[in-house]
């Protein structure tokens, strides 16, 4: 046998080998499910290739071996999980395939891991995304069919009905679907940071969208000018998002972690870097993160996702950067800085006086019902939907919703007219009774006028279609 290294004591070697192994400060559950066998269509941004390079980077970095990082498969959301959130036209099976149910199942798994205290935090890197899916689903919209995060929240609330939950959606597109689903829900704070809707799909998410009369200022939108960089993003975070969260005191913080505001994203015009993302995550300190969009699949996603995983795990992310990263190229103009400051100031003031706002004045309603009209365009499937949503305003509870919706399919001249009554879990007994009586009446009288009539009763956990 050869001579041994003479200067080396075994103790020293031991130290060198094992002590360097990194350990995550926060235990982290990763649900990494790239769905390598699924695409919306072969050349669609939501195609098999989307998370290929992310997989390569995450695996090559050996993140799954890090002490305290654990990998899990997604589950598969059940029909009832979907029904608690969505009114699927005509039915769940028609809009949600295995791929959608598994993506939602990934979000559910993340929540289970955190709530059962198996891990401190969880990150679901799943596709397709969900945040453009509204309560009523006629088809695919913004690459989303069903709203993964909303489905996750309703699963959580099946056992924790009164939990206060905050969403911070950092995708470049306005999280219009999630916003709408929880628009009248006082226990959900939904904050969306996105590229200004005047310059990008879906064209909404302005500062005056503030939630329904029963949930005023539980919806906040921060439209950011095209060209916003890390500096602007962090200005919003430091001066608005974090203080608001401080006041709201959520029991659970969810980051809808879209990655399409990266400077290299082909679909948007933002200037965020992997470092900016990782630092945002570290400051926000979410319990759960769920991937949304992000289509710079080769130059951005691998680095952003590694950065997010490290940030969530409480590990050093300072060595992550894109191959072409150059902070000097990514400076935002003074005009952008000014615009962002103004938006933040407006929302700061609004947040301060949120409890003193005259709601009847603000929402322009009298009596017990408040109505909104919505035009919703399904870019992916080419469907135009016209919707009328009436909410019962009750001093004791979140009320209930009456929704009528007509969807025009551009491809087939097909038209679907539906009517739905949606009753939240925490609706008071009086409103619940009233809603059920109302449903019985329309079921009798209106069935000729509509293709389908739905009851979505979370309080009873029952769901019907006629």
């Amino acid at each position: 046998m050869s001579a041994t290294g003479k200067n080396e004591t075994p103790a020293k070697r031991e130290r060198q080998l094992s002590s360097r192994k990194p350990t995550a400060r926060n235990s982290l559950g990763l649900i990494f499910f790239p769905a390598f066998d699924w695409a919306i269509s072969p050349t669609h941004p939501e195609r098999e290739e989307r998370l290929l390079y992310t997989r390569d980077q995450v695996f090559e970095e050996g993140l799954m071996d890090i002490e305290n990082i654990y990998e899990f498969n997604p589950g598969r959301a059940g029909k009832k999980d979907v029904q608690r959130v969505h009114i699927c036209v005509p039915d769940v099976e028609d809009v949600a395939t295995d791929s959608h149910l598994i993506s939602a199942g990934g979000a559910i798994r993340a929540a289970e891991l955190v709530l059962e205290k198996k891990v401190d935090k969880a990150f679901a890197i799943v596709r397709p995304p969900g945040h453009h899916a509204f309560r009523v689903v006629h088809g695919t919209r913004g690459f989303c069919n069903i709203n993964n995060e909303a489905i996750m929240v309703e699963r959580i609330r099946a056992t924790h009905p009164k939990m206060k939950i905050a969403f911070v959606d950092t995708d470049a597109h306005h999280a219009d679907g999630t916003q709408e689903i929880f628009y009248h829900d006082p226990n959900i704070l939904h904050i969306s940071l996105h590229q200004d809707g005047r310059t990008l799909f879906p064209g909404s998410g302005f500062t005056d969208e503030l939630g329904g009369p029963g949930a005023f200022a539980r919806t906040l939108n921060i439209p950011l000018p095209p060209g916003t960089s890390d500096e602007g993003l962090h200005y919003v975070l430091d001066n608005l998002v974090l203080p608001v969260l401080e006041d709201f005191k959520p029991e659970l913080v969810i980051n809808a972690a879209g990655q399409d505001n990266h400077y290299s994203d082909p679909l948007t015009n933002m200037q965020i870097s992997a470092q900016g993302y990782a630092e945002l995550n570290a400051k926000l300190n979410p319990d759960i993160a769920i991937l949304q969009g992000g289509y710079s699949i080769e130059s951005a996603l691998p680095y952003i996702n590694v950065g997010l995983i490290l940030a969530m795990a409480g590990l050093d992310y300072s060595y992550i950067h894109e191959p072409d990263y150059n902070p000097a190229d990514l400076k935002q103009s003074p005009a952008i800085t000014e615009t962002i400051k103004k938006t933040v100031e407006e929302l700061q003031q609004l947040w301060q006086k949120r409890s003193r706002v005259d709601l009847e004045e603000f929402y322009d309603f009298t009596g017990r019902f408040s109505t909104r009209e919505k035009r919703i365009y399904y870019d992916t499937d080419g469907i135009s939907e016209l919707q009328q949503e009436t909410v019962k305003v009750c001093p004791d509870c979140p009320g209930y919703l009456i929704i009528s919706s007509t969807a025009q399919h551009s491809s087939s001249f097909r038209q679907n007219r539906i009517l739905a009554v949606s009753i939240p879990r925490l609706t008071c007994d009086r409103c619940h009774e009233e809603a059920r009586v109302f449903f019985a009446e329309i079921e009798e009288k209106e069935k000729e006028r509509f293709d389908y009539i739905y009851l979505q009763d979370l309080k009873d956990d029952t769901y019907f279609r006629y």
């Binding site: 046998m1 050869s2 001579a3 041994t4 290294g5 200067n7 080396e8 075994p10 070697r13 031991e14 060198q16 080998l17 094992s18 360097r20 192994k21 990194p22 990494f32 499910f33 790239p34 769905a35 390598f36 066998d37 699924w38 072969p42 050349t43 195609r47 098999e48 290739e49 290929l52 390079y53 997989r55 390569d56 980077q57 695996f59 090559e60 970095e61 050996g62 993140l63 799954m64 071996d65 990998e71 899990f72 498969n73 997604p74 598969r76 295995d98 791929s99 598994i102 080769e298 691998p302 590694v306 490290l310 590990l315 050093d316 300072s318 060595y319 992550i320 950067h321 894109e322 191959p323």
Partner: protein, 591 residues
């Protein structure tokens, strides 16, 4: 004739297999000596000499060795210093990867597509090499992130190192086709560490065989249960680490030859190693085995070691029975200092006082065992001690006589062990069933792994196996020749090989990773998944030392690379392997 020799921690065993005309082999001779850890070669030769004395050396078809050389060298850290050169690029802080006795971090880098983003700096390389020279380091490990997608930077550093006359150089991309930079670094470090010792060993063995006029090819057993020709082991000696447990699993396969899903228990003095066959094929450790606490890319058979063995010390801690992890000596019934599970089996009448283990006769004293267990009775809090599924523990009447008390203690000990092993088995199965998958197809197809049988080796394990199997609800089989099962495993195992073909037609490159090939795809040629598959198959067959061993394709993926709504190429990966299995079958009478 085939010779298999297994160097174990205490014994070195050997078998000589001889075939009849129908090519059915049988064990003709066995041999056993104490292992001299300071001179493994000598232990091997003593066994070899005893096996071949009087035999016709020309008729030896092959000799297969399973040694603890690599394992011992690493565990006892008896190796020369290693200089590590890392090319990490952006990502995780590379600080914690500095396993080397000297470390250098270079500033070049390759990205996930195998594109060189930043070239190496020659002066940085020279500076590092000079530093290692003056530190008296002759072993180098050069490892780059994504080097399996493009080995050019590792090779460039290697060229410099050769000019600087470094003796042994390990490059990361030759070690495995798998992604995982930290594992690649650890694997390269360990590989560099054991290379000099391994080369010395090979030289010494070669010389010894020449002296004995043995010309038969020599193989080493790897920890994936396959063999590798001696000459080929030089580049990647790390593959021979931890071959003992692999020998044991392959021995079990050779001696039982089950084609179904079963658990393999190797019950030793201080530990019980659990292995698994799924439909007759041994299962691999996901991603690679751990060495000295560090995950590596070394492919190895799945084994999990539970600190419970026949000689484990039994104590009572805070009212509860605690078995292991220490061994203070043999069973009390054989003059040892502490009660052990073996004593429990004696007290329960599951082992006789005069027993035959591995051809050795052993004398136990049941009264001593009883006396050793009895004092534990009063220390045990019987309220919280779960009775398990034992019939004695279940009835509530207070035992009266010392004998009854000792029996109750013995029941408690066996219940503790079977509960612990049962838990580990459940854990292994659930981790395999829930192993991460990345396609909808695989997720929906996931199936349960339900072994029905425990196979184990004879000796004292026999009584244990019977107890564990009946308590955990498995059928059991105890195989013969357990004393030399590892040597049989080495003798019968076939070579294993893996080939990873990674093609990126948009970049115009194909890598045949394990063969060290990184080449341009001919422009204009349409490289398809079928072609990649053919290459993977061809290179596996080409590198195999035996013909006619089936090659299987284990992974296949293909992605269209779309840029701007146009397909610009494909990224494909195909893995082929020769899986662990038997090259030589024992005649039915031997099983």
């Amino acid at each position: 004739m085939i010779i298999g020799i297994d160097v174990g921690g205490t014994h070195t065993d050997g078998v000589l297999l001889v075939s009849d005309l129908a090519k059915n082999y049988k064990i003709a001779r066995t041999s056993k000596v104490m292992t001299d850890q300071e001179d493994l070669k000598n232990s091997i030769l003593r066994v070899l000499d005893s096996l071949i004395s009087g035999a016709d050396r020309q008729k030896i078809e092959r000799i297969v060795l399973s040694t603890t050389l690599a394992t011992n060298t690493l565990v006892e850290k008896k190796y020369q210093p290693v200089g590590l050169i890392l090319i990490p690029g952006p990502g995780l802080n590379p600080e914690y990867l500095q396993f080397g006795d000297e470390n250098a971090i270079l500033s070049g880098y390759i990205n996930h597509r195998g594109q060189e983003v930043k070239p190496l700096s020659g002066s940085e390389i020279k500076q590092a090499l000079k530093k290692y020279h003056s530190a008296g380091i002759s072993n180098l490990a050069i490892v780059g992130k994504f080097s399996i997608r493009n080995p050019s930077q590792e090779l460039e550093v290697k060229k410099y190192a050769e000019e600087f006359k470094f003796q042994q150089i390990t490059v990361g991309h030759r070690l495995s086709g798998g992604l995982n930079f930290p594992r690649r670094v650890a694997t390269a470090y360990f590989n560099a560490a054991i290379t000099p010792v391994h080369l010395d060993f090979i030289r010494a063995i070669r010389k010894a065989l020449e002296q004995r006029k043995i010309t038969a090819p020599l193989f080493l057993l790897k920890c994936d249960g396959g063999t590798i020709p001696l000459a080929e082991s030089k580049e990647k000696p790390i593959a021979t680490v931890n071959s003992g447990p692999a020998a044991s699993i392959m021995g079990t396969l050779a001696l039982s030859n089950h084609q179904d899903t079963c658990l393999v228990l190797d019950i030793g003095g201080t530990t019980t190693d659990i292995g698994l066959f799924i439909e007759g094929v041994p299962v691999f450790m996901p991603r690679g085995i751990e060495i000295a606490g560090l995950p590596t890319l070394v492919r190895g058979l799945y084994t999990r070691s539970v600190p419970r063995g026949g000689d484990s010390e039994v104590r009572v801690v805070e009212g509860r029975i605690k078995v292991g992890p220490r061994r203070l000596g043999p069973a009390a019934a054989r003059g040892g200092p502490a009660p052990t599970p073996t004593d429990a089996l004696l007290v329960l009448g599951k082992i006789r006082e005069k027993a035959q283990f591995n051809g050795e006769s052993v004398q136990f004293n049941r009264e001593t065992a009883l006396k050793a267990l009895l004092p534990l009775y009063d220390k045990i809090n019987w309220q919280q001690e779960r009775p398990g599924r034992s019939e004695v523990g279940a009835h509530r009447t207070e035992p009266a006589s010392p004998r009854e008390k000792a029996i109750k203690v013995a029941e408690g000990i066996i219940a503790e062990i079977s509960a612990r092993i049962g838990k580990e088995i459940e854990d292994i199965l659930s981790s395999l069933e829930n192993r991460p998958v990345y396609t909808i197809h695989e997720l929906l197809a996931a199936s349960r792994i339900r072994p029905r049988m425990i196979i184990s080796m004879g000796g004292p394990a026999k009584a244990f196996t019977r107890e564990l199997a009946s308590r955990l609800g498995y059928s059991e089989e105890v195989i013969p020749y357990s004393g030399v099962a590892n040597a049989v495993g080495a003798a019968c195992a076939r070579p294993t090989l893996e080939t990873t073909v990674h093609a990126d037609t948009a970049q115009g490159y194909v890598d045949i990773i394990e063969a060290g090939i990184h080449r341009k795809i001919k422009p204009g040629s349409r490289f398809t998944l079928e072609e990649a598959t053919k290459l993977a198959r061809k290179w596996t067959e080409k590198r195999s030392p035996f013909r006619n061993i089936p090659v299987e394709i284990t992974e296949k993926e293909s992605f269209n690379v779309i840029r701007g709504f146009r397909t610009t190429g494909k990224i494909m990966e195909v893995k082929a392997q020769i899986k662990p299995g038997l090259l030589t079958l024992l005649g039915v009478s031997q099983r």
